[in-house]
Symmetry: C2
Subunit: 160 residues, 2 copies
DNA sequence: TATGTAAGCGCAAACATTTGCATAAACTGG
DNA sequence: CCAGTTTATGCAAATGTTTGCGCTTACATA
């Protein structure tokens, strides 16, 4: 069973209806590959089904995020979405200079989570955690010495 | 020299102009005590100076955040601000159930920051870091057993 | 103190996102 | 396969926030 079919199953099980709009959005996000902006999803959806409404896209993505089918990533203050990979969950580091998104393995957050629970009884929601900051490349370019030159499309780098 | 005067000095030094609107907003945030919503700032500002514009409030708070005079906290998806206390910097844990805000000492993030720098060369911006999650009280209430009665450490003011 | 210039302001319109409501369609159970 | 219930959709309007633009004003200089 693919992750795609698993998602549908999971939705049905939770009592959500499988509408053509929802299937379409899921398909688009699944095929889109990397993080996709809301308006990109909307544009593609409408080209397949012209009555598609922007509100529906927002509602659907919100639902998918809530049930864990997609992961929300804030890139340069806009919301982007990608299919949640059930085997390889990860968080994101987003560079505020180049807007590149890098994956971060969850184990980096485990300790932090445990500390908050232990010291404060506060159970953090780190499911959709994203850190912003400056990535290696952009830090190198900003530095007085020569810049690296590696260009950063919005793409996934590997994690450790 | 108070933190307030220090802020003004710092603004002037960076070439920003000291307008009555800016002074007013600073004063309001400084006296407001805890995290204040944009709306609240606007209302108070306008009662002192009826021409005050909402856009100006937003712009001013954004500027203050940028230069570090105020700290932005997202509380239940609205933006709130408090004067940055230069001696006692702290981050926030915000409960998604009761919207209570709890302070978090920066040392909890130091290790996380260092790890990201070491492993990825990624320098995270944790200046305005806020974690959301479930606080002790709300977790207790949600649990099958009896709930505690402790009220949230900091205040949750109501808006609207 | 008077003056020039750029930064900041108020206003209105744009923007991204959410919501209320009436209609339409997905899922029961017969 | 049909009708009933209930959820989701489309549309429009509301929300919170940002932006473009012409006018005003703070500040540096004389």
């Amino acid at each position: 069973m693919t992750g795609y079919e698993q998602s549908l199953q999971s939705l049905r099980n939770q009592g959500y209806r499988l509408t053509p709009q929802r299937l379409l959005v899921l398909e688009i996000v699944a095929e889109g590959g990397s993080h996709m902006g809301v308006d990109e999803v909307y544009r593609r959806a409408r080209s397949a089904y012209p009555y598609m409404d922007l509100a529906t896209v927002y509602r659907t993505l919100r639902l998918y995020k809530q049930v864990g089918v997609v992961t929300e990533v804030a890139i340069g203050d806009r919301l982007h979405y990608e299919l949640t990979d059930p085997g390889e969950k990860h968080h994101h580091m987003v560079c505020r200079a180049c807007h590149g998104a890098f994956n971060l393995s969850p184990h980096y957050l485990e300790e932090f989570r445990n500390t908050l629970i232990r010291d404060f009884g506060f159970k953090p929601d780190l499911e959709h955690f994203t850190v912003s900051g400056d990535c290696v490349n952009c830090r190198a370019e900003a530095a007085p010495s020569a810049g690296s030159g590696i260009d950063s499309a919005i793409n996934n780098e590997e994690e450790r």
